[in-house]
Each structure stands twice: as C-alpha cells, then as structure tokens.
Symmetry: C2
C-alpha cells in the first residue's frame, strides 16, 4: 500500500482538525461563513485564487487556477455537516478531531470535510511528485448539501463559465462492505412531496363514523393507491421517461457483488421487495425509480384507546428518480393520479427543491482512468456502481457543465456517516487519496500508466 508521505499525513489531520472544529451544521445555519473562510484559506494555500460566491443560502467557496491551453479538473465538495446529536452517543467531542485505533473521529471527518481535505492533499502530493501541474484546477465547495443543495442547480447555471472543466470528482466515494474499491457513476433524483388532507373542521367523536369521512383512513387509501406491494409505482406515466438500461450497464449490474445476505442480516428482513435477489437486487437499488412514504400521521397515537374520528391527516413522500425522469413532471403526474382516483381533496405540495437524476457513462475515458487507478491502488477489481440509490446535485455538473464526474474517495460503510462517532480509517485516507492522485496522473499522462 502506498502511504501518504508523513508531512502530508500530518497536513491532512491538521487541516481536517481545523475544519471539524467549526460546527457548520447546515440544518441549523451555524458556522457557515467561518467554515467557508477556513476552506478558502486552505485552497489559497494550494496557490488557488479563492472567491466566496453568495447564493440565496450559504456561500459557495469557489477556487481556481487555470493553465492556459490545458484541460481542467473540477472538484465538487461541501463544507456543511449533519447535526451531531444525539451527543451522548459520541465517545469523543464531535467537533474535536480525535485519533483512536487508527481512525479519525469527528463530525465531518468523512462527510465531507475529510473527503475535501483528501482532494487538497492529493493536489499537494501531485505537485511534489511532478512540480507545476499540466492542468487547471477548479473547486466548488458548497454549504448546503446536507439540506438538499437547494441552491446548487441555480449556482452552477449562473457560474457555468467560471466552472467550465473537462473532468471532475464528486464529493464522496470509498470502499464497499467487502473492502472493494467502488466507482459510483450516477445518483438518483429526488422529489419530496407533502400530502395533507382535511375531512372536517375538527376531530369528532367516533360515533359519527357512519356519516363522516375519516381522514386517517383516507390518507392511508391515498398512499396505498400510489404503489403496489412490490414497490411498483402505480402513477400513470411514471415510468414513461425511464431510460432503457444499456448493455454495458447491465453487465456492470450483473458483475456487482451480491451483498444480499449481509444486508438482510443488517436490516433484519428475510426478503427483499418483489423477492429480489442477486443482480435483481442490484438492478432495483441502482436503476429503479421508487416512491417512499417517509411518514404518515393522523389522529391518536398514544396509549390505550381514544374514540376519535380524525379530521386531518398528513403524509410525506420522496420519489427517487432515474434518468430521464423530470421531478416537476412526476409532481404533475402525482396530482393527476390523486384527482383521477377520487383524492382531489388531498393537497400535494412540493417539499425541498427537487434534484434531477444523472449518470455518467462508465465507458467515459476519465472514468476508465479512475477504475484502472482504483484497481491498481487497492489491488482488487473496481466495483462499477452504475448509480447509487441516493441523491445529490450531480445533474448540474454532468448535464449543465457536461463534466464526467468520478465518485471515489476515503469512506467505508462502517464510518457512521450522519451518525455519532463518524470517522475515517487512516488506511482509507492513504488509499483513497492515492487513488485521486493516480486517476489524475493517468488522465494527464504524467505518471506511470
């Protein structure tokens, strides 16, 4: 395993400690300006020109060093983190980077301050290996990823010329549960919707049951009408724009390791939706659009009985979308479905700003460099993940800017991202950072290929 030189390992933990110490919790709007300044300082330390770009929310740290006539690599990262609570479940202070058992603990140690610092250390390492780099560098580090990147699509559209690049690295990546290097090539879109319903002016005694509509039943029926038992969405037109799976994608899906039994044990289920196993499990997870009910609430939920007839109900939905579904069109289809099925009185409102689905072709030359670099660094074949089941603002980079974005990095599935005791393993810092280095060397033709 190729290790970071000692001074760069120290620089990694110093820089990360500095960023972790600022509690930049996006959901609480805390510490954003201060973290943006600290990130800017670290990027200036690389010799980049740094600007803080205001948005409707938290500022984006923009940094660049162009090389005339040479291609440019773009790095997308974020400096905000998830809330740290429940605090009592942390073994050390979440905002003090703490080394223990070969790991570095702290909120953001992995997601995404650790990944960000890994990229800057990779650039320093490259310069130490090759001197002045034969390509330009651009960073866009936002402060609202953990609340759904509500301003990123507009930001990228507005700054498309400043952000122009040839290849890029997405903010996350790492190994899978089998310690195999992964290269993720896509993210699903997300559409969140709040459903609300009122059937009467106020809750009633349930003796009125035979004559007054029941909001709890009715919201249950509305939600039940949207999908079937196997997860198939029953909204007319929902699947119309789903891009057919290519042969290459199918091959990657079929080559993906089967993690069924591990997931079943971890999650405590005996069967996946639709009885999916093996590559069908992977196909669903990576390529199926889906409808989740995040919550449904109406009426009484306490101990004992309460003979109440609820007059109002709510449900929260998220749709995970795949190319080329359009979140706004899906919202329109949902409204039409509710109207057609007699739920005209169920109000549907857009939740957070939707995100569009996006994928990069695993056959893209830059992704092939990345896959080869991962295999070389980790000593085992790269797992090509056609798409994550998760979502994020990949679409503006891939579609608006036309940049093939690689997703690889320093995380592992046990790293407790978003949870107490978030951490990275030193071994993943070494390997993941080196994989970034080797990907860029292969792409730029400056290292041994």
């Amino acid at each position: 395993m190729t290790l970071l030189p000692r001074h760069l390992a120290e620089a990694f933990s110093d820089q990360l400690a500095r960023l972790v110490a600022i509690p930049s919790v996006g959901a609480e709007g805390r510490g954003q300006a201060e973290t943006a300044e600290a990130v800017g300082e670290q990027l200036r330390g690389l010799g980049l020109d740094v600007e803080l770009h205001p948005t409707a929310g938290a500022p984006v740290v923009f940094a660049e060093r162009r090389v005339p006539g040479a291609p440019t690599v773009l790095f997308y990262n974020h400096y905000d983190v998830q809330p740290a609570d429940p605090l009592e479940l942390w073994d050390s202070d979440p905002f003090t980077l703490t080394e223990r058992d070969g790991n570095l603990y702290g909120r953001g140690a992995s997601d995404d301050k650790g990944q960000l610092v890994s990229r800057t250390i990779a650039l320093r390492w490259l310069e130490e290996r090759h001197g002045e780099l034969p390509f330009g560098v651009v960073f866009a580090v936002e402060g609202e990823e953990e609340i759904g990147s509500p301003n990123m699509t507009a930001y990228v559209r507005e700054q498309r010329e400043r952000l122009a690049a040839d290849v890029g690295f997405w903010e996350f990546g790492g190994v899978d549960a089998g310690d195999r290097p992964t290269l993720v090539c896509g993210l699903k879109g997300i559409l969140s919707v709040d459903l609300t319903l009122r059937t009467a002016a106020h809750d009633l005694h349930s003796a009125y049951g035979p004559v007054i509509q029941n909001a709890a039943y009715r919201m249950g029926a509305a939600v039940a009408s949207l999908r079937d038992e196997n997860g198939r969405v029953l909204i007319d037109g929902f699947y119309d724009r789903v891009r057919p799976v290519s042969d290459a994608e199918r091959r990657h899906i079929e080559a993906a390791p089967f993690e069924d039994d591990q997931v079943k044990a971890h999650v405590g289920v005996e069967r996946f939706l639709g009885g999916a196993t093996g590559s069908e499990y992977q196909r669903r997870l990576q390529l199926e659009p889906t409808l989740n009910v995040n919550g449904i609430h109406a009426g009484y939920g306490g101990p004992g009985m309460k003979t109440v007839l609820p007059a109002s109900a709510m449900a929260k939905l998220d749709f995970r979308l795949v190319p080329d579904q359009d979140p706004h069109e899906v919202f329109t289809l949902l409204r039409a479905h509710l109207d057609r099925h007699g739920f005209g009185d169920v109000r549907a409102e857009l939740g957070e700003e939707p995100e569009w689905p996006a994928r990069v072709d695993p056959g893209d030359p830059f992704l092939r460099h990345a896959a080869a670099a991962l295999e070389e660094v980790y000593g085992s074949p790269t797992v090509i993940v056609v798409s994550s089941g998760g979502s994020g603002p990949l679409h503006p980079f891939v579609e608006t800017l036309g940049v093939p974005m690689a997703m690889l990095g320093i995380s592992y599935p046990g790293g407790r991202v978003h949870s107490p005791n978030e951490h990275v393993r030193w071994r993943d810092v070494h390997r993941g950072t080196y994989a970034t280095v080797r990907t860029l060397e292969r792409w730029a033709g400056i290292g041994v290929v």
Copy 2:
C-alpha cells in the same frame, strides 16, 4: 313547566356540589374511593342499604331497598368523570360547582354526577308526592365508565341476583339540538384494536426504497383494505349477524328529525359518507356498524423533509357494532381478513375490553311510559332514537339481567360534556328530573296518567 320544589332544587345543587368537588378522574385513578363513599352516603340518605362492591378496578356503589312482592327499578350511573384539562379553557374551577346564567358548571355537572343526583332527587320527590313507594329501588354506580367500563360485564354477571329488576334507567339522556325530548333505546358495541407492523429492524435511509418494504405504505394499505370510500366495511362476514331493521325501527328512523344541515355546518363538511341525507343519515348513524381509524402513525412527521424509510407503523381502530354482532367474532374476522390480504405480519391486538351492542324494543311497555312522560313534561313529541351512535355497557343490563333500560335525563347538546365548561341548564334539571318522576308514576300507576 313543573319546577322542582325549592328545597329539592337546593338539595340537587348541594348534593351535586359535594360530588363535583371530588376530582374522580377515572383515567388518572384519582378520588375513586372518596367519591364512592360520598355517593353511598347520598344513597343512604334515601333510606337505601349501601354496599361498596370491589371489582378488579374501582368499586361499584351498590344500593337497594326491596319491596316484597313489588317490582323493582334499577338505576345505572357512574361517579367517575373525564379529565378536566385543558384547565385554562374553564371559566371557573372545574371541581367547584358554579352557578352562572341559569346553568351549573363543573366537571361531571352533567356526565354523570348531575344525572345521578337527578335520579336521587326524583326518588325523594316521588316519596314526597306519594309517601312510601310501591316499588323497590336498586342502584349500581360504577367508577370506570369513562375508561370503557372494563369490569361492568363481569360485575353484572356475578351480581345478577342482587341486581335483579323489572325496569331501569340508563345513566344519560336529555334533549336534542331542537330542544326536543329524546328517548334513546340502544347503544352500539365497541371493539378497539391496535395494529402494529415492523418491516425491518430499524429505520433506514430511503435510498433502500426499491428493495426494502416501507412500513408506512404498508400500514396505509392494510387500513385501506378494511373499508371503502363510503364507509362500507370490506371484512368478509362482518355484516352476517347484523339484525334486520324492524318495521317499527324503520318508522322511528324515518320520523327522526333531520339534523343534516346543522351537523354539516357544525362539522364543516359538505357531504356525508355515501351521500347520505335525511333518514338515510339517521339510519347510518343509528343502525350501521362501522370501522373508525382513530389514528395511524409511522415515520417522520416534522417540518421539512427526512429521507427515511420507516421500519415500523401503528394504527388504532374502533369498530362500532350493532346487534347481534359479537366483538370477539369480529376480531377473528379481522385477523382472517389481514391474513387473506397478505397482511399476515400486521399484528392485531385487542385494545380495551370490548362492549357488546344492545337495544331495547321501543315498543316495550316501560319505554312507552317513558315516551309518554317525556311528551307530557316537555310538551312536544318524544324523539325515539333506536340507537345512539355511541357505546356503553348497556348489554349486561338488557341481555344478562333482561331489564328494559330507558335513556332520558338532564343533558342538552350544548352542555360541553367531556370538554371545558361542562354544565347543565337548570331548566333541563327541572324537566329531566320531572320526566323520571312521571315515568315511574305512570309505570307504577301512582300518578295521573
């Protein structure tokens, strides 16, 4: 209007004030022994022999004075009350009987301490009018009506010989929204059921949506499978034992005042279930068994979005049953329905002790005396309510003891029973108490008929 003699009106408010002052909230298990003692004292004041009968819960105040060879009238009442909160919505202390604008305010002023004291004052009044009464008297005053009378069925079965009687008065009754006297002849049964469901060991990120079952969706689907949009219950066999409506019942239903528009305005609906209007509204309310969803809860319900895949869900149901449905059989049918519809993993548990439905034939001679007495006292035709939409332990008295129970009394729909500022109007105390007197005089043949 025939008024209570002044000293009896004073006795009414003195006795009621004494009982209201004890906060006998059944749900909190407070003040039950003390209230039972106070009730016993008031019944002893009528010359009855009083015993406190223990049950698995609060004691029953049993009182009797038999007259050898003569028939007996039974009074069923309860001394427990609903909680008083929210306290800040009361205009006077809930546990201090307060006279204001011709009304008496306090928790239990109507339900059921007021009704109980009205019965005892009616008996004193009868003795003052006729001397020694030519019939026996039995009281059974329980302390758990507001929590569903979990011990009343067993109590009546055990004490069936001590409680033997020829006619009886149920604990409630009064005028309707049009100030017409009502005689209620039946109560629905009630079966409460808790549904719970677990689809995975813990909540997951909703990226797992395509492969892991969603508990919120699934509970919605389970609930939606149980009834249709018009309130028709879809459980096989649910209606099999429903007793056909008799011609007499149909006539009473058709004669019932149409309160549709008032209810629509009060409740804030434009349409009743199934489009019911007029006598169909009354038929549904009085005679239809129904399924209520008291609550459904799963997953996230707070502001904003949370991309969670809920692993557990719950719903609370109450079934309102009519003769001759059997709550335990309905519970078995529900289980079979869930199993047959693929919801074998939805756990169903009995909630509170079920109550059986019961009705008294409005043509029963005692009820005809009561109807005639009400018409005489109120000066308008008696509204015969074949059954209330509500529930209560009528079945043990009607079916186990075989006693025709009349439901008439001193309440009115504006009396805020179970709510802040519960009260009775003095005019209803006068009229309702006198109606009890005249019913017994007509039945016993001791007054002017």
